[in-house]
């Protein structure tokens, strides 16, 4: 394949990675932004989403689409409720003290991971995509008769991968509208800016924190349900998304939602392109290096504000 078509293919793969990453990182970013909690267990909530998706689809017979749609509804809900419970039972009890919160979420990470290993087992298990047609993509070449459309061999994407991109965009747009336009969003933003004053105006801050933590975990789970027909469910699958989500949130600017989206696109796309042309490991190395540079030269991230 020539360079042009190859790059298009890599960019499409990158766009899929970016879409999933944007969902996962957005969960982490909202939790950090509103609660100032660094949730180390975020990757495990992602993994739980995938495992629950496998569990739901394997219980439901019939067309794969039925199981998938159910999983897309159930998995984020269950994971969100579990996270909200973890917030109430653990994080609220330690008063969101930053050091203890990190230790507590590390503990939570191992509990979730090992419980999954004991119940779900060490195998990677696939989930059937609801639809998966191969779509060949055209390319333009300058030949003897001027510009012509060609169909290079191997230049294709599946309809499911396109769906992942569209679904992620739709979910993030909805989330954006909720945060900027609704009363719930207003309460979240006010709590983020000044939780004490919010409380003095009747905001039940504890309850807001609990549901924000649930929402963050639920977003990771949505990303996982979307990815599991491409990647398979496995009890250790939360590591890479956690690392990439942290990188994204730091580069985008801690707590800045638009920054998180921009960073997710940058990192997802470069991850896709570098993985296709070189190696996935190099992609991670470069992303981590960029974080080091950002922390050194622009610690507040792309769109973050310096701490006041």
């Amino acid at each position: 394949m020539d360079f042009g078509p190859h790059l298009l293919l890599a960019s499409l793969e990158g766009a899929v990675t970016a879409a999933i990453l944007a969902l996962t990182a957005m969960g982490l970013s909202i939790v950090f932004g509103v609660m100032r909690v660094v949730n180390v267990a975020h990757g495990e909530f992602y993994m739980l989403g995938a495992v629950i998706a496998w569990w739901v689809t394997s219980l439901v017979g019939g067309h794969p689409a039925i199981g998938f749609v159910l999983a897309l509804g159930i998995a984020p809900l269950v994971v969100g409720l579990m996270a909200a419970a973890a917030d109430k039972l653990i994080l609220q009890k330690i008063n969101y003290d930053p050091d203890r919160t990190i230790v507590a979420t590390i503990g939570l990470m191992y509990i979730i991971q090992q419980t999954t290993l004991m119940t779900f087992g060490p195998d990677a298990r696939p989930v059937q995509p609801p639809f998966n047609t191969r779509l060949a993509l055209p390319w333009f070449e300058y030949g003897e008769s001027g510009f012509a459309m060609v169909w290079p061999w191997g230049l294709s994407i599946t309809s499911y991968k396109l769906f992942v991109i569209v679904a992620a965009v739709a979910i993030l747009t909805t989330l954006w509208l909720v945060i900027t336009r609704s009363k719930i969003g207003l309460i979240m933003r006010a709590t983020q800016l000044d939780s004490e004053t919010a409380q003095a105006f009747g905001v039940p801050v504890d309850r807001v924190y609990m549901w924000v933590f649930g929402l963050g975990a639920g977003l990771a789970a949505v990303g996982a349900v979307l990815v599991v027909p491409i990647q398979q469910a496995h009890y250790l699958m939360g590591h890479d998304p956690l690392l990439l989500a942290f990188i994204t949130v730091i580069i985008g600017g801690l707590g800045s939602l638009p920054g998180t989206i921009i960073a997710a696109i940058l990192i997802g796309m470069s991850d896709g392109v570098i993985s296709v042309f070189f190696s996935p490991t190099l992609a991670k190395i470069i992303a981590t290096l960029v974080v080091a540079m950002v922390l050194a030269f622009r610690p507040q991230g792309l769109l973050g504000r310096s701490v006041h």
Binding site: K183, L186, I187, A190, L193, A198, A200, F201, G202
Partner: protein, 231 residues
């Protein structure tokens, strides 16, 4: 009527109030005076339930509000204008007002009423709160508290850093609320800014109420001001 009965309060392990008792009556302005660090702001935060009481109690019209969770206290129509204004800085003027409107689920008339008191804010509804001038920010902080249609209004150094014309406007609003039957509690450093409008004055020293007296007495005999504030 708001009754504070011998409260003791600490920030973590550091005790700040060692027995404060105050009474704020409807239609009166209670002015709390004291030096820096005497515990004036701590009293305000304690009323709002933002700091836990070690002992003592706070009652509003017979209900023990100090037994309520903090977020329920403002729903009893206790409006708070914190020190340093504490606006939701990145939200717009309209959104800041909306936060006050949501507390007691106030109706649309209340929004109009508040914006009629501060017409400057009506012109700036879509502006981000942090871009307002100091005086406008104070107006917004006051407006946000008035959205609760308060029975009790707490103002913590509302004139801090404002120019005289703004101080006068804020004073007029405070007097108007008093005349409407609101119990006003005012914390001030600057005696001259409040003595003329106060009905009752409480002196706080080292986290304790030293003395409560009618403002008229104090105006007649300013000796106590020197005694407690050293000015």
């Amino acid at each position: 009527m708001l009754e504070i009965n011998d409260i003791q309060v600490a920030y973590g392990r550091v005790q700040a109030l060692f027995g404060v008792s105050l009474t704020a009556k409807p239609g009166e302005i209670l002015c709390i005076l004291g030096r820096n660090g005497a515990g004036k702001t701590t009293i305000m935060k304690s009323i709002m339930g933002l700091l836990p009481l070690m002992s003592g109690s706070i009652h509003l019209d017979g209900e023990e509000i100090s037994a309520l969770p903090a977020h329920k206290i403002p729903t009893r129509r206790v409006g708070y204008v914190p020190q340093g204004r504490r606006l939701f800085s990145e939200l717009t003027v309209a959104e800041n007002i909306e936060m006050g409107m949501m507390t007691c689920k106030s109706d649309e008339d209340t929004r109009d009423w508040v914006l009629d008191i501060f017409p400057r804010l009506r012109e700036r509804l879509q502006q981000q709160a942090s871009t307002l001038s100091g005086g406008e920010q104070q107006m917004l902080a006051t407006a946000r508290a008035l959205c609760l249609r308060p029975k009790v209004l707490l103002l913590d150094e509302p004139t801090e850093g404002l120019q005289p014309s703004m101080i006068e406007q804020i004073r007029q609003v405070v007097v108007r609320m008093r005349d409407d039957g609101v119990a006003v509690i005012l914390v001030e450093q600057r005696v001259d800014a409040v003595l003329s409008i106060a009905d009752q004055v409480a002196f706080i020293e080292h986290g304790q109420t030293r003395e409560m007296l009618a403002a008229a007495e104090l105006r007649a005999d300013p000796q106590k001001i020197h005694q407690y504030l050293g000015v």
